[in-house]
């Protein structure tokens, strides 16, 4: 158990030390948000209505761009070989890695969602729903990203393939997240879409570590 915590601590420390890479992803998020009023016009009513969807699209693109950081870098610098020859089960190592990435992503998002919400005039009543969808949706994106990263690890230019593989799988998360925010903005209860997101997340949490480990082992052939 202490070992797992040490490993998680190590991964989080790596995430923090490499915060320059996160900074560029955060900057990307902010640019998407800042540019939208110029593209859609400055009408506050329209922007406020579209805000949850826009913020979610920016978050989704951000998590797509962050996938390369997961196993591809480890394969390049030889760390993956160490993971593959470690007595600690690969499923656990993979999970710890993805979990640290998810925590870093959530940390970054929870901070930048406030200026983004302010900028787009998001209704204050929608903010709790939006943050709830982050906590239920971002882990799903991270786990899916881990699977795609592990599957495409041996391929030379895998970024395009990852995007192609993942885009359709991201759609349910996006739909449920935005419908929860829409319901919240009309003052309606929004538990149902959140429960759907939680179900997807639970499914992936139980399956993803095994799929990732199998893909990493198989990718060596």
């Amino acid at each position: 158990m202490t070992n797992i915590l040490t490993l998680l601590y190590h991964e989080l420390r790596l995430q923090i030390r490499q915060s320059a890479e996160w900074a560029s992803l955060v900057l990307f998020f902010i640019i998407v948000i800042v540019l939208t009023p110029f593209a859609l016009g400055p009408d506050p009513a329209i922007l406020s209505r579209l805000a949850p969807g826009l913020i979610w699209i920016a978050a989704l693109l951000m998590s797509l761009l962050s996938i390369d950081r997961l196993f591809v870098q480890d394969a390049r610098d030889g760390t993956l070989d160490m993971l593959l020859t470690s007595p600690v089960p690969l499923e656990l190592l993979a999970f710890v890695k993805v979990f640290a990435q998810i925590l870093a992503m959530l940390g970054a998002l929870v901070v930048i969602v406030f200026p983004a919400a302010l900028l787009l005039g998001l209704k204050a009543s929608v903010l709790p729903a939006l943050i709830a969808t982050f906590f239920l949706g971002i882990p799903t994106l991270g786990l899916l990203g881990g699977i795609a990263g592990a599957i495409t690890i041996g391929l030379a230019r895998n970024a395009a393939l990852i995007t192609l593989l993942l885009a359709p799988l991201f759609i349910p998360v996006l739909i449920f997240a935005v419908s929860a925010c829409d319901a919240a903005s009309m003052g309606a209860p929004y538990a149902q879409p959140l429960l759907f997101m939680a179900a997807i997340e639970a499914l992936l949490l139980s399956a993803a570590p095994f799929i990732i480990a199998a893909a990493l082992r198989g990718g060596q052939g």
């Binding site: 040490t6 190590h10 610098d77 030889g78 160490m82 593959l84 470690s86 007595p87 600690v88 052939g221």
Partner: protein
């Protein structure tokens, strides 16, 4: 102890090597030599259990290594030709990570950095190390935990003469304790009593 019978390995569609036979008893050092592309690295990866063989088998004390992969991983040190270091960490933090990855009992930082000549650099960030020092750090893993089987892929790369001497001493000491070393190298490496396995050029 370690026995390799009629081993063949395939990468994508190419057969890299076949009919490899090797037997290593405690205290033996094997040097795997051969030109680039002859499958030295692939052989070590098969022995480490990272790659599956196309045919043939690898056994440890009579038991196939893929029968209990976790037990096999606990008894090996596999050091690949890339250093597996993260430039954002310090030397000490890197060792802490390796300890957690390996799990078993380990020695103190200084005891493990001493033999590779890095004792004074424990708090230096990895990105400030030279290529040779990085190689030394990756070899420090050998001293961190006890494992009977060392699999070293091109361990001499970027090491200076002193570094090579130091690695030779580590290997001798390990063999004297009854350990097994299998090292792939295309540089001449002067080791007392080493056995040679010559791999032929790829086909």
């Amino acid at each position: 102890m370690l026995k390799v019978q009629n081993l063949a390995c395939r990468r994508t569609r190419r057969v890299v090597f076949r009919e490899i036979e090797l037997e290593a008893e405690p205290g033996m050092v094997w040097l795997v030599t051969g030109p680039n592309g002859s499958g030295k690295s692939s052989l070590l990866r098969v022995l480490a259990g990272i790659l599956g063989p196309m045919e043939g088998k690898v056994t440890w004390q009579g038991e196939a290594i893929d029968a209990d992969p976790a037990a096999h991983r606990a008894r090996i040190h596999y050091i690949g030709h890339v250093d597996a270091l993260k430039s954002a960490l310090t030397v000490r933090e890197t060792l802490a990570y390796w300890r957690a990855l390996h799990g078993g009992p380990s020695v103190e930082d200084e005891q493990c950095l001493g033999p590779v000549g890095l004792a004074k650099l424990a708090d230096r960030p990895v990105q400030n190390l030279s290529a040779g020092q990085k190689k030394r750090l990756s070899l420090a893993r050998l001293a961190l935990h006890d494992a009977p089987l060392w699999l070293l892929d091109e361990p001499l790369t970027s090491l200076d003469a002193a570094g090579r001497g130091m690695l030779g001493k580590m290997i001798d000491a390990h063999a004297a304790k009854g350990g097994i070393v299998i090292a792939a190298t295309h540089d001449p490496f002067d080791l007392k009593g080493a056995q040679f396995l010559k791999m032929e050029a790829g086909r």
